[in-house]
């Protein structure tokens, strides 16, 4: 269990950790298998490492980058033992995961004038609403006053879904009817938050594919309208990515960045299988930090993510 304390900043129930154990051990094992018993870095070893990284969903670009970095550092066919090779891989991978804008140490809000406004965006079905429920739970536990805004007015019963999370976590939800203007709901939510002196305001939005221009423009409008109430809102725009998404995740991040200047990422559904490699690729390719990971459907199943710790745990450091 020891590595989990380094892996994620928060120690969680054992059941949660088991899901992540799979990711860690699987990526690690695949790489180890690829280099096991090899004494030279030849084409075959490199191919096997490529396979290990790609099947862990690290992504092609990042994989190629890692392979090339490796090639640069070792002369072809040089004799080298397994430990040396693993050390080299560790250095390369952890180097890729470093970020200027760091992780959150705890569920603690930066100081703002008025409520801290967090807008949650992403494509359909990735886990936005669920992540909001989990965040509400965490911040409420820390003693913050939280308000949720049901600005997904499009999907059937999306408002009710957030409503259930509000009840579960004991947090008020500001809503209008299905089909109403999302910007108007966001506006109401912020006003409510300001008048009640709330600390945190989380806005749910409808899932939208990033190639739909008009839907992306709608997000910019929600953003603008919120600023009428809280001038520097939103303080955080969280893009939620589904951990089982392939290469499209990067395109999503790019498009959402352009439309709403995302400031952080959450990667969900990592309780599944060996999908965690995706956070390596994401951390490398995007200059927005992964702050949260979702590891289940319950209220507790959200963890803060720390890339450095992740990289070292990957290699049993």
């Amino acid at each position: 269990m020891s590595f989990f304390s380094k892996f994620f900043t928060k120690d969680k129930k054992e059941t949660l950790d088991q899901g992540l154990e799979k990711t860690r051990s699987s990526v690690f094992e695949k790489i180890t298998r690829a280099v096991a018993g090899r004494s030279t870095v030849d084409e075959e070893v490199l191919d096997d490492i490529e396979e290990a990284l790609i099947t862990s969903d690290v992504g092609l670009d990042t994989t190629v980058k890692i392979i090339e970095a490796l090639e640069e550092r070792v002369a072809r066919n040089k004799v080298m033992n397994q430990d040396e090779l693993m050390q080299m891989l560790y250095e390369i991978i952890s180097g890729l995961m470093q970020h200027e804008r760091g992780a959150w140490e705890d569920f603690e809000l930066p100081k703002t004038e008025g409520p801290y406004v967090l807008m949650v965006v992403g494509v359909n079905g990735v886990g936005k609403t669920t992540t909001i429920g989990k965040l509400a739970h965490q911040f409420k536990n820390k003693g913050y006053n939280v308000v949720l805004g049901a600005a997904d007015t499009f999907r059937a019963a999306a408002i009710e879904q957030l409503g259930v999370w509000g009840e579960r976590t004991g947090v008020p939800v500001v809503k209008q009817e299905m089909g109403s203007d999302p910007a108007s709901v966001a506006y109401d939510t912020l006003q409510h938050a300001v008048s009640k002196g709330a600390d945190l305001c989380i806005i749910d939005t409808a899932g939208r594919l990033h190639n739909k221009k008009n839907l992306m423009t709608e997000l910019s409008k929600v953003r603008r309208v919120m600023q009428k109430v809280v001038p520097d809102a939103p303080h955080e725009v969280l893009l939620v990515l589904d951990g089982s998404t392939g290469q499209n995740a990067l395109l999503q991040a790019k498009a959402f960045s352009e439309a709403t200047q995302i400031t952080s990422l959450a990667v969900t559904k990592l309780d599944g299988t060996a999908k965690g490699g995706v956070v390596i690729g994401i951390s490398d390719q995007l200059n927005v930090p992964v702050k949260f990971i979702g590891v289940g459907e319950g209220m507790e199943d959200l963890q803060l993510f720390n890339p450095e710790a992740f990289a070292s745990s990957l290699f049993n450091k």
Binding site: G19, E51, N124, A156, V164, N211, K269
Partner: protein, 443 residues
């Protein structure tokens, strides 16, 4: 970021240009490029590897190396192989039992509920069935509610049991309800579950046994990455499903997961989801998917989509005009109105070979035609009929009349001329073969 296979191969063979003695060793690099292109399209690594080995053997066997354009010859082998792997004809649903029971299964957020409703709607209106929707997701907050809202929108009954936490018994009761109320089709929506969640997989296994569905459909997000292998296999092990629904293809994913799933479980993809609206359900065409994965566009879909919208009469009129070179801006305007009915512009443009790549960083408004229409509206009737007469000063007038620049007008005229050429080409080629020639011409 995304290079299509054709681009990658052209690149790989450029390196070899001038070297006539291409050997097995030399071909290895392009084989690697193919593998990477596939992996980039989210085909599972192992499937991509098997695939490229087959392609390599075929390429060596068919003497691709000595072809005039080895890159293209290689692309052809890849495309044919891919289309074959993706399967033959589109397969429909088997609904002979009474009632016919459909079970929807898959990961969280893949689109099960939406597609339960879409299918019910499709079967009601296109197949004259009497469907009953069944809400068996007792876990996700407001999941039952979601299906009820959709059912209400569609005027289709939803069977739900408030307070019953056992999906198996709900499904069994629903089938009874269907039988005694004259429903001949039962569509069971279930909760999303991870393939590694043993308790939940066991639950759906029991549900499956209890109602013995005729069509169990695995609903999967087209954006799925490498994990598609494990997920598809795990669901198939438990359910031995009849088919797959591939959702969210209205996005810009290549959809390599389709190839992975097809190869791993060898079950047909029966439908694709192309949007959140209830009508956004399409039949699956293997060769189109093959082209999409390879980044080759989807001309056939585009043309068929167009055909659905154009009424025969005006189509005949158009085609006559094209063959007589009498196609003018009035006709173009008429086409624009037709195209606007077909839906999202970027989706449509993306189907044109070569365009997918060109457009990936370009924004196209759904009202992209606004400016074009404005320019055409600023032309005189005779200019519209005889675009060749539009000279410099006329261009200036049209520009100021429509609030565009002369450059915009020039572009429009150039595009118009090109379009006429292409249309003529398509017409003389005729049918799908002609289309393929055109694709080759454009690449």
């Amino acid at each position: 970021m995304f290079e299509s296979l054709s681009d990658r191969l052209e690149g790989a063979f450029d390196v070899l240009k001038g070297n006539h003695k291409i050997t097995e060793l030399n071909i290895a690099d392009s084989v690697k490029q193919i593998r990477r292109a596939l992996v980039e399209a989210d085909v599972s690594f192992k499937i991509a590897k098997d695939f490229t080995n087959t392609v390599k053997a075929k390429a060596l066997g068919q003497g691709v190396i000595s072809a005039v354009k080895p890159g293209q010859a290689m692309v052809k082998i890849v495309r044919d192989e891919m289309a074959e792997l993706m399967g033959g004809q589109a397969e429909g649903l088997n609904l002979t039992s009474s009632p016919a029971i459909l079970l929807m299964a898959g990961l969280q957020g893949s689109g099960k509920t939406t597609h339960s409703a879409k299918l019910a709607n499709y079967l009601l209106h296109k197949k004259a069935r009497k469907p009953l929707l069944v809400a068996c997701d007792v876990y996700r907050p407001a999941a039952i509610n979601q299906l009820q809202v959709l059912g209400e929108q569609l005027g289709i009954e939803v069977y739900a049991e408030v307070g019953n936490q056992d999906p198996v018994s709900i499904a069994v009761n629903a089938v009874k309800h269907a039988k005694s109320n004259g429903y001949n089709t039962v569509i069971v929506d279930t909760a999303g579950r991870l393939a590694v969640d043993e308790a939940m997989m066991d639950e759906i296994g029991r549900l499956h046994k209890a109602v013995a569905p005729q069509e169990t459909l695995f609903v999967v997000d087209a954006m799925t990455g490498q994990d598609a292998v494990n997920t598809a296999k795990a669901f198939n092990d438990v359910l031995d499903f009849e088919g797959v629904i591939l959702t969210k293809l209205d996005g810009d994913t290549r959809g390599g997961a389709a190839l992975t799933i097809k190869s791993v479980v060898n079950k047909p993809i029966k439908f694709i989801g192309t949007g959140e609206k209830m009508e956004a359900l399409d039949v699956f065409y293997p060769d189109r998917m093959a082209d999409r994965i390879l980044g080759m566009g989807d001309v056939v879909s585009l043309v068929e989509k167009a055909q659905e919208q154009f009424d025969e009469e005006s189509a005949r009129k158009m085609s006559k005009k094209i063959s007589q070179d009498a196609f003018g801006f009035d006709d173009f305007m008429e086409q624009i109105q037709q195209i606007k009915k077909m839906g999202n512009m970027k989706d449509l443009m993306g189907m044109i070979p070569g365009m997918g790549k060109a457009l990936k960083d370009v924004d196209i408004d759904d009202d992209a035609f606004k400016h074009i229409e404005a320019m055409i509206n600023s032309m005189t009737p005779s200019e519209r009929q005889q675009p060749d007469t539009i000279n410099g000063s006329r261009r200036k007038r049209i520009a100021s009349g429509s609030g565009r620049t002369v450059q915009d007008v020039n572009n429009l005229l150039k595009q118009f001329t090109d379009m006429r050429k292409v249309m003529k080409m398509m017409q003389s080629g005729g049918g799908k073969r002609g289309m393929m020639n055109m694709m080759r011409g454009m690449r």
